[in-house]
């Protein structure tokens, strides 16, 4: 049935050396990551092991690392390419080991043995079991070869896999890329030449017969196995320095992430794992508006992460400062790398103040702020239901707070307008600029003011404020963005709107949509009022308006280009009005708009159904003038 011809050949050495080198590197890297995790994260990880979470992680590893489900969702051909290489290779390894266990159960299983099995063991393909193995091995080999074929073609023409551009590679990447491309064709050659001795199936046997008709197969057996082993060895040695390190880092990243661990500081622990898990697939290039229409190709996340990885900190920092923190690349990343958080951690390195002088006027000992702010707070005699925080940006679009006041009155809600006479900023812009310490001072100040108001609900009009209120403030009261608040008022029958004969498109603000996961509330409101037209890119794919405070460096011209492009893409179905839910988006779009851009609060306030006689009188909303 089968006969072991050899159990060792000198050509195994390139492979063995490569493998040992790689494993040492990998183990050292994992030890380092664990050492750098904060104590609390270590405990989290320990607790997550052997729980239901582990099963979830294993499923995710299977779906993402082998089948590449997320890439499939993006582009079927690109997904197929990744899947066929990863899954095919995985199956070849697994089947190889099963073969060894089945046919040579007593054999001392050295790591190279299953790899060069066909050379070592002569086996018959005429029994059913043998034929099935040979067939499966050939089948998965074919699968990998097809994947590699697509990969090679993708380098020439990336559009066939739905990508406008692919990444520029580093020298180690090229080394690893070429050796990866050659591993499987070489394996095919080696097995074909050996097939007349050790057997084969449709692929290897077929090629074996074909070659036999014009070359003498036996002469080529050993050289091709040498070449195959060398390609493997080179790949393993280049791997730790190349993007292919992601193959083994990604499963590890999934385990850490599902344990609830997040980036603390770049270049350490989880962040380090993320940097290595990036496959530089370049999927984040196309969604990034800095690339198109911003024409800053080199600022995309993929290059940021690679700069981080190769420790080009100055370049990485500049890229982090340019990024708008819109999160489109994070939403697209098939590995789930939170690059926005990574970038923030890089920005945090440059703290402006030492803490004692920065924003000193917030300190009650210096009298400037409280004197100005206190009257507003003191004006709150009875306990309001709601405290309303418009936010700095809303003060630049006074129509929004005005509309909100109309709505509060129409719904009969006792509210206090906390920053009516201005207030301190919510702190998120400082956080986005990396000034965490200063931001904490604002957070403390605002928390004090909000809690003092005695209200049970905080309503804000600004998604930027909303995000920091929910993520960083530890407020003992409910925090809602006005989209959700208005939706709930309408649902409770406290507000009713009249139908409008207009086509509207809704624009998802980054911090409200991707940042806070609020997609449905505004759509529910608009669907009932007017004809809601879908934007081509919406929800987690929504565009950034370009006004983002996330970017420190972006020049005005680029912002304007991004805004104009986003506005065109949003209005391609030609709606009558563009509705959004963010003062910053509204203001940015107004600069480039050829039709009204309204906040959802304004839209509802103008189209309120006439109130019952006993309801509170509605203040006239002069928003048209303010548009």
């Amino acid at each position: 049935m089968f006969r072991e011809r050899f159990s060792y050949a000198p050509f195994v050495w390139p492979f063995v050396i490569g493998l040992i080198f790689f494993l040492c590197f990998f183990v050292a890297a994992i030890v380092r990551v664990f050492k750098e995790l904060p104590q609390s994260d270590k405990i989290k990880f320990g607790k997550s092991l052997f729980t239901k979470q582990t099963l979830v992680s294993i499923k995710e590893i299977f779906m993402e690392c082998l089948l590449h489900r997320r890439i499939f969702q993006r582009d079927p051909l690109l997904g197929f390419m990744h899947m066929s290489i990863a899954f095919g290779w995985f199956m070849i390894i697994v089947l190889g080991h099963i073969e060894v266990k089945l046919y040579c159960p007593n054999h001392l299983n050295l790591p190279y043995f299953p790899i060069f099995f066909r050379y070592f063991v002569k086996q018959t393909d005429s029994t059913l079991g043998g034929a099935i193995f040979f067939f499966l091995m050939d089948f998965f080999l074919l699968m990998v070869l097809i994947g590699i074929g697509i990969a090679i073609y993708k380098r020439i023409n990336s559009r066939i896999v739905g990508m406008r551009r692919t990444t520029r590679l580093k020298i180690y990447d090229w080394l690893a890329l070429y050796s990866l491309w050659s591993i499987f064709p070489l394996r095919l050659l080696a097995e074909s030449f050996t097939s007349s001795i050790s057997g084969g199936s449709f692929l290897t046997r077929g090629f074996g017969l074909l070659f036999d008709s014009f070359v003498s197969n036996s002469v080529h057996v050993v050289p091709t196995w040498w070449a195959y082993s060398t390609a493997l060895g080179v790949f393993f040695i280049a791997m730790p320095f190349s993007r292919y390190m992601h193959i083994l880092t990604e499963p590890f990243l999934i385990l850490l992430r599902n344990a609830g661990i997040r980036t603390v500081r770049h270049g350490q622990g989880y962040a380090l794992t993320e940097t290595f898990a990036c496959s530089r697939c370049g999927i984040c290039l196309d969604p990034c508006q800095m690339v198109l229409p911003g024409r800053m190709d080199k600022k995309a996340t993929v290059y940021f992460i690679s700069n981080l990885r190769y420790n080009h900190m100055e370049t990485a920092r500049e890229m982090a400062e340019m990024c708008m923190q819109c999160g489109r690349c994070v939403a697209a990343c098939p590995v789930g790398i939170d690059s926005c958080r990574l970038k923030l951690s890089v920005k945090t390195d440059n703290q402006m103040g030492q803490g004692d002088t920065y924003l000193q006027y917030l300190n009650p000992a210096s009298d400037a702020l409280p004197a100005e702010i206190q009257p507003v707070v003191r004006q709150m005699p009875e306990k309001p239901d709601v405290v309303y925080f418009a936010g700095c940006m809303s003060h630049l679009t006074p129509a929004i707070p005005r509309a909100m006041q109309t709505l509060f009155k129409a719904a009969g809600i006792r509210y206090r307008y906390l920053d009516e006479n201005g207030s301190v900023c919510c702190g998120r812009p400082l956080m986005l600029a990396g000034q965490e310490e200063a931001a904490r001072q604002l957070i403390a100040k605002n928390t004090e003011l909000i809690v003092k108001s005695g209200a049970q609900t905080l309503v804000t009009s600004c998604p930027i404020c909303y995000r920091v209120f929910t993520e960083e403030y530890k407020l003992p009261i409910r925090v809602v963005h006005h989209t959700v608040f208005i939706r709930d008022l309408i649902a409770a029958g406290k507000l009713s709107t009249e139908p409008v004969q207009e086509r509207v498109t809704y624009h998802d603000p980054c911090d409200l949509g991707r940042g806070s996961g609020i997609y449905e509330a505004p759509r529910e409101i608009l669907k009932d009022m007017a004809v809601l037209q879908r934007a081509y890119e919406e929800k987690d794919q929504a565009l950034c308006c370009g006004g983002s405070l996330g970017s420190n460096l972006m020049p005005y011209e680029t912002r304007r280009k991004i805004a104009a492009d986003a506005f065109n893409r949003l209005t391609f179905r030609n709606p009558d009005v563009l509705v959004t839910a963010c003062p910053l988006c509204k203001k940015t779009f107004q600069d480039v708009a050829d039709r009204p851009v309204l906040d959802i609060a304004q839209y509802v306030a103008t189209h309120l159904r006439a109130q019952k006689a006993d309801a509170a009188p509605v203040e006239e909303t002069p928003y048209r003038a303010a548009v």
């Binding site: 400062e321 440059n350 402006m352 103040g353 002088t357 920065y358 924003l359 000193q360 006027y361 400037a368 702020l369 100005e372 702010i373 700095c392 940006m393 003060h395 630049l396 006479n421 201005g422 207030s423 301190v424 900023c425 702190g427 812009p429 400082l430 600029a433 000034q435 200063a438 604002l442 006004g547 405070l549 420190n552 460096l553 972006m554 020049p555 005005y556 011209e557 304007r560 910053l584 203001k587 940015t588």
Partner: protein, 117 residues
């Protein structure tokens, strides 16, 4: 001295030969949009920090370019980086980064580390 109820103002003459241009140069090199400012004061009018303190971005820019550098480091530490000024600036000056750059330049200058550009 007899108190006449008025004093003589301190001279506001700026001696450009004496004034340090280093900070100005640094700022322009790192945030070129500083050159676009026309001193209209929109940034100051809308400023969130300006409600509580005499913080004035228009004046700070002027002082940077005139080399009147006393206390500028502390001044810039009043900005909340809220971004309102950036939204209203008619010239598209990248004001938030401008404040950060001035602060950085002043920190270096006060430590004597500002390299001649």
């Amino acid at each position: 001295m007899v108190n006449f109820g008025f004093t003589i103002n301190k001279s506001t003459r700026i001696d450009y030969d004496q004034a340090s241009k280093d900070v100005s140069r640094y700022v322009i090199a790192h945030e070129p949009s500083a050159l676009l400012c026309i001193g209209c004061g929109c940034c100051t009018a809308t400023c969130s920090a300006g409600q509580f303190t005499p913080f004035n971005l228009r004046r700070i820019q002027l002082q940077v370019h005139r080399g009147e550098l006393a206390r500028l480091e502390q001044e810039t530490e009043k900005c909340m980086l809220c971004g309102k000024c950036q939204m209203v600036c008619p010239r598209g000056v990248n004001t938030r980064h401008l404040v950060m750059t001035i602060h950085k330049a002043m920190t270096l200058y006060n430590r004597g580390e500002l390299k001649d550009l």
